[in-house]
């Protein structure tokens, strides 16, 4: 168990800065998600921490030790990729035994440790299968077991659930979170799925073009984004003009709609999308910023407004966040 600290870390590929002066401190046992669009430098940052790559500038500390120039072998990190990267010629058990073998742990001790790890990821009875004989979800569990069996100081996960279908992904998200809490291992997860980031992590780091945009707890990043990029990347953003000339953010759940006459502002329903518990309305405002789009998400109770209908729209001043 260790904390992680990045100080002014940069990685340049010619003119491209894949990581640009990044600072980050992850506390021991914390779960931090790095979130950003494709090409924003998430994998680069992870591979720098893992020691698969050397930064062009800056220092990296793990457990207080400067590991900037230490090879991957000496960092005691559990690594999981989206592509699983299991050893194809080994069985499930042999895959999980691999890091123990490297550490000269063998025999019954290693075996029971490996079986424990497989039990933690709820994968029992498949020890003798080859990776090619497993489903995607099972392969990812093996990769996870292999990454935790040697009690790493840090767990690094690069879009570990990206290749799985939605239902399985949600299931594994819950398991991953529980596993991380059980082990108390410092974890950094990379994803471009904002829901995954919001639901799993203690804190989120939003990245764009190699630069940190914000590091904050999920609710704070969602409701109080540091800038427009973060606002738009974390879910749907409504921007409204403020009296002082600035722009304010209102999230769809904070927009209230009702029958005409219940509020001063009015809008026309462009589209009503039924989402189960919620209905999402795409609106066109009528007064003030005429025609400006707005999205409202309201609980579905009884009747929904229909496309083309006119509605009254309102929001609380307290729900506006200037960006």
């Amino acid at each position: 168990m260790s904390d992680i600290r990045l100080e002014g870390v940069s990685k340049r590929y010619g003119p491209v800065a894949a990581a640009d002066d990044v600072d980050l401190a992850v506390a021991q046992g914390e779960f931090v998600t790095i979130l950003g669009p494709s090409g924003s430098g998430k994998t680069t940052l992870l591979s720098l921490i893992a020691g698969l790559n050397r930064p062009t500038a800056g220092r990296i500390f793990i457990g207080g030790r400067d590991v900037t120039d230490a090879p991957a072998q000496e960092r005691n990190i559990g690594l999981v990729f989206q592509s699983y990267a299991l050893f194809p010629h080994m069985t499930v058990l042999e895959n999980v035994l691999f890091p123990l073998g490297v550490r000269k742990i063998g025999g019954a001790v290693a075996r029971s440790q490996a079986l424990d790890a497989l039990k933690l990821v709820r994968l029992e009875g498949l020890e003798d299968r080859r990776p090619s004989q497993l489903s995607g979800g099972q392969q990812q569990r093996v990769a996870l077991a292999r990454a935790i069996v040697f009690k790493p100081d840090i767990l690094l996960l690069d879009e570990p659930l990206g290749a799985l279908d939605r239902k399985l992904r949600e299931e594994l998200q819950v398991e991953l979170k529980q596993l991380q809490r059980t082990l108390g291992v410092t974890t950094i997860l990379v994803t471009h799925d904002q829901e995954e980031a919001l639901s799993l992590s203690d804190r989120i780091m939003v990245l764009d073009k190699g630069r940190t945009q914000q590091v904050a707890a999920p609710a704070e990043a969602y409701l109080k984004p540091a800038n427009r990029f973060v606002a738009e990347f974390l879910g749907i953003a409504n921007f409204v003009g403020l009296e002082d000339g600035r722009t304010g953010l209102v999230r769809p759940e904070r927009v209230r709609i009702g029958a005409i006459g219940t509020a001063a502002k009015t809008a026309r329903v462009v589209e009503a999308i039924y989402l189960g518990q919620m209905v999402r309305y795409h609106l066109a405002l009528e007064n003030g910023a005429a025609g400006a789009p707005m999205v409202a998400a309201v609980p579905f109770v009884g009747r929904a407004f229909a496309t083309g209908e006119r509605v009254a729209v309102s929001w609380e001043a307290a729900d506006i966040w200037p960006v």
Partner: protein, 268 residues
């Protein structure tokens, strides 16, 4: 074979079939002739006998050449396998200045005309005093076969997911441990194929060998010399054995790569 008019497709097929016939007819003539009972090279053979095989196996000079070829092919193919695989790994996985230049240098023996490679090796080996020595032959054949190994192994290494190696490193495995326990077991079919190609490449080589072998005789060199001196049907028996060896080896490669599902990328 998408697109193209029916005409051009037919023309292509005709050229293909002609090429195949052109290449295989000599083989189909040599094989029956090696079992001929006639004293001279005549086709079709008047009767069946194994006398030319007996002549081959009974001739100590042929047997000498055979052992020289076998030893040479064994040593040079192993050397080429080790060096070519390491070069392919470094070129595929590394990123360093002069990478393309280094690759071009290793591949050169495959690209420059053999006669030029022969002259270069002649001069080079003469300079270091290895001309006409067995070690010189091994060195020359190794140089010639490295590109074959690099081609086969280069494709195999490129196809092998780098992340699997990276995970192994992160799990604490050293580079050499990773290569031995993770990379090689997965590339075994390609390693075998590369070794076969290098072995056959050496066993069949005649031009460079003729330049630098001195008093050493390999099977192809002796065949060549025999043909120049006199037309002796023993050569058809030797040729048939060489064809058999090559076909068997290539069949083994096909089976092993086919089973590993590697055939397409390797031959592509």
């Amino acid at each position: 074979m998408t697109g193209g008019s029916p005409w051009s497709r037919r023309a292509l097929a005709a050229v293909g079939v002609f090429g195949l016939v052109f290449l295989t007819v000599p083989l189909l003539i040599v094989v029956p002739m090696s079992f001929s009972s006639a004293r001279a090279l005549t086709f079709p053979p008047p009767g069946f006998s194994l006398r030319w095989y007996a002549a081959f196996f009974g001739d100590p000079r042929w047997m000498d050449a055979m052992w020289t070829s076998a030893a040479l092919a064994s040593l040079s193919s192993i050397a080429a396998l080790v060096l070519g695989s390491l070069a392919a790994y470094g070129l595929r996985r590394g990123s360093f200045a002069g990478r393309d230049w280094a690759e071009g240098n290793f591949m050169a023996p495959l690209i420059v005309p053999t006669i030029i490679a022969a002259i270069a090796l002649y001069l080079g080996l003469a300079k270091v005093g290895l001309l006409g020595s067995f070690i010189g032959l091994v060195v020359a054949h190794t140089v010639l076969n490295v590109p074959l190994v690099m081609m086969v192994m280069g494709v195999a290494i490129r196809e092998f997911d780098l992340r699997i190696e990276q995970v192994a490193w992160s799990l604490g495995a050293s580079w050499s441990y990773t290569v031995a326990k993770v990379v090689l077991p997965n590339l075994a079919p390609s390693v075998f194929a590369a070794w076969i190609f290098a072995f056959i490449g050496s066993f069949d080589e005649v031009i460079v060998t003729s330049f630098i072998a001195g008093r050493y005789e390999t099977v192809p060199k002796r065949m060549f010399n025999e043909l120049v001196l006199e037309v002796n049907p023993t050569i058809t028996a030797v040729a048939t054995l060489l064809i058999g060896l090559t076909v068997l080896a290539l069949a083994a490669v096909t089976v092993i790569l086919g089973r590993a599902g590697k055939l397409r990328p390797t031959l592509a």
